[in-house]
Assembly symmetry: D2
Homo-oligomer: 310 residues x 4
């Protein structure tokens, strides 16, 4: 894979589990086939939507091996190397690249209190030891810092970073990276990807190279269509498609907030939808997430039906 | 070890590193001897001050094996099992107990967005699988949630938790756990430990069972003396000793905030002090922390001198 | 004014001050003329960019009277009624409407810790007593809560709110209000305005009715042009114009962060730019904001020159 | 009043309201008599517990005039001058001192994004214009910044501040101000007061001069007794009394969090308790706070009964 591959729709692939919380490889491969059939352009395994934070090292390795082996180079496989600090991330980088990942996706340090200088140092050390391109993953809701645009651009100019995956929800900051990268003579082939599945049309309009939509697990055809419409400049049709997907995204709120957090609800809904659509065998999520109730699952079904997916 | 052992001074043991960032076992064992000679009552390895977030699984195992083997039951060894979620924590629990830990110390889930119900579920699953007692580690600055007092008390009453290590800095909430545990008929043998090294006298006065002071690496004698004075009800002398230690703690601010975060400065200062005192061979901290400058190290020396430690 | 007037460019009008920090009415009226000549569609006085939080009640009244009297109905004048809680806001509503405001702009309660039920109650009481339409002002950076989309839509459906001015920077949440208002049969004539001056093209593309750009003080012609291009569906040209304005916006960072906060820097830069462009007599900002240095003002001038405004 | 008066128990006085939300002066004066009879050493009107954020300027003035006139110099009356920024605060300073306040209590700027340099500037300007001593009010939960200890000490050394009222809950930071003020040759007569009503014994043990307990409205005798015990060095008895007060404080949680915020619950409970104890005529709180239900009020009564106050 070259870094220029990082365009189009690259969904963060859910990790189907068995009822006893082991990786369900057959379901995982059916999910991959479902995504490829949907027209996606790459796969991002071991992201936040993949429950990477919940998987053991063995499970993570199994996911990458299974997916990379299955697609065998047809489309790029990015793999998260999600951990607290540099040495631990380097362990994951070694593991996932040995297992076949074409690029690694790395957040700012977390748990540790961090500083822009330490974030930059982190990426420099990781990239120095990585055999594949490094994608910065900006996800403040998880790591509690925002990657500063100037740090991203400096690292891009120095060849440390091949891409940014922005899940911050801050389109103005995202645009600063897009225009900064375009204006900077020293930056070439840097991809800027949005993880904000509800404003893909807007992100592509401001210059994003691609999108990493969690909801793309449930409706990959929809995100592929949205991507095509935006690239064709069919903005009105794109907006209609995006709004259909926004309505579908409402499923993430089915979980009762008195009983579970927003993550349990969102991941639970995506997996319930994949189960209802017949893609995966079991909607289980990893511990300590709280499972959806039967009523909540039925509400997921209504979202699917309203979007024409059941 | 029984849970009733968790009283007195239980410092979070720094992890000395070599210049190439491997665990320096001889220095680590000298540090342990220094702490034991200082009169501490237990050891907490793989805590935040130990740079657990920065150590690989192999390094973590080596730390526990080395320390547990060295002290061989003379005093209890608690080990952090610091990771994002349940399954990953369980891996660390298995590893550190195999390596000799007498208890495990576990935070709320992090990276994942969490909910009190998920926190409780996390501790229940971890305790269900742990061969040793589980200590809850409340450290909002790292995990970005505060352990609710009612969750702690419910888990203590159900025998899930053996102790709380509170690094939240919130003495009123700490007191609620102390008095709640005392008032609850179903809670026996539950230890409440403070990680707030600047208000140990106050925490013991409100009923804490013990203290986990990062600065105890630098001056274990001081914290042992403080503990004795408080237990003897010598509050005025205790306050004088505590204030001496507070002044010494000023070393954590030597690092230039324009160049590094507060963690790099604090851990860097503790290690510089241990190096200056001749306890460890090298003051290196793990990546991506920024090292102290020579000037900053000299300022650490002045703090030591002012406290009568050089 | 009817609520359907709330479309197009409605800049938050800066409040020029004399060197002794009194409202400089002649400069204020020249600024209004500059904005009207630039093609704006309405004026928002006493917003955050207007330093409403810094002005006394007398100064606030003078601003509204001066501006409303000057424009005398040519275009709508919205006025902030920025205060902590309901009774205090009602005092400002009475004052600014007596002074000629056509609508009032009201944030969630602040200082007080608040709850969605209390936010809704706040708007219901304010609207019940206001002689003019009420615009909700969503500005989490100032009030530290985000207005929930479902609360906004409920209040819009009940006729409590005439519009939303969204300065949260969260385009996905903004879109939820836009599409929710459109889909709701009970909501008519509700305007959704964005305060995110760096993504006006994107906000209009997702369905915003108008924009409230602080930078519009400096370059009203640019924002009027951008608005026209977007309404004409000239998205490529709109993007070019927006990117020019984004570059100009860089002026808000001229202030040294070691010496002042981001507000001092941003408001200081806007006023310095208006002074350099000859619109206002004095660039002073209100206490306790820190003034820009001469060097920093010169950097503002370079931003103006680069954007073709000097 | 001289600044040396600021010791002992200085409760933030609740503001009784009539059913139509006007200040109920007879109830207010009965409350003052209740506090004086309870043995308090000063009164703090227009603080957070006084609902200052909810009162109009006229209501604020009425409160100060009524209370200052009633006590006529028997004990010092501190008054909050709670507003967003400097010029607005100065207006309140003029009003409350004209109405008889002996000192003013001022927070960091809020709503505006602020910086330590701006906070210092704010206090310098306010103190320069205030005819009475200025007390810094550290209340991060309301203003969303913490007053840095070094800023406080610098301002104390320069004679800008007469005292600190710390409602941050951070006893370690509080201690830094206490010991810093004691160690600094240039600081004399500076009072350090805690607003943390659950750890008064601890705060006095570390060197606080006094306490500002919201719960002191409900049980002034308890806080006066606690203050005496601490000053006498009767720490065990003090702890028992403090724990009784902590249990009583549980009343602040009676309000259903699904229906109201923590402020509505806490202020509502204090006023319900004062009503049940026969001190005030009506337990109403200001808009937009949500009133307690009848059931919730009954639970307040149970807390009173358990503490021996009914």
């Amino acid at each position: 894979m070259t870094i220029t591959s990082l365009t189009g729709v690259i969904p963060p692939v859910c990790t189907p589990l068995t009822p006893d919380r082991e990786v369900d490889v057959p379901s995982l491969l059916r999910l991959v086939d479902h995504l490829v059939a949907g027209g996606v352009h790459g796969l991002f395994v071991l992201g936040s939507t993949s429950e990477a934070a919940y998987l053991t090292d063995e499970q993570r390795r199994l996911v990458v091996e299974s997916v990379a082996g299955h697609v065998s180079g047809q489309l790029p496989v990015l793999a998260g190397a999600i951990d607290m600090t540099t040495a631990r991330v380097l362990g994951h980088v070694a593991a996932v690249t040995a297992a076949g990942a074409d690029a690694v996706v790395v957040t700012a340090p977390f748990y540790a209190r961090t500083h822009p200088a330490e974030i930059a140092r982190h990426y420099r050390v990781v990239a120095g030891a990585s055999p594949v391109p490094v994608v910065a993953y900006d996800i403040p809701v998880a790591v509690h810092t925002k990657l500063p645009a100037d740090v991203i651009l400096e690292l891009a100019a120095d060849g440390v970073l091949a891409a940014l995956k922005d899940s911050s929800g801050d389109l103005a900051a995202f645009r600063r990276v897009v225009t900064g990268a375009r204006a900077h003579q020293g930056i070439t082939g840097f991809s800027v990807l949005t993880g904000s599945e509800l404003i893909v049309d807007a992100a592509l309009a401001v210059g994003a190279d691609g999108t990493v939509p969690g909801l793309g697990n449930v409706d990959p055809h929809g995100y592929a269509r949205l991507d095509r419409l935006c690239r064709a400049g069919e903005w009105a049709e794109a907006r209609t498609e995006q709004e259909r997907l926004c309505a579908l995204f409402g499923m993430v709120t089915v979980g009762d907030p008195a009983r579970m957090g927003p993550g349990s609800s969102a991941i639970g809904a995506f997996k319930a939808a994949l189960h209802l659509r017949g893609v995966i065998d079991c909607p289980a999520t990893a511990e300590p997430q709280v499972p959806l109730s039967q009523d909540e699952v039925e509400r997921v079904g209504k979202y699917l039906a309203a979007a024409g997916l059941l």
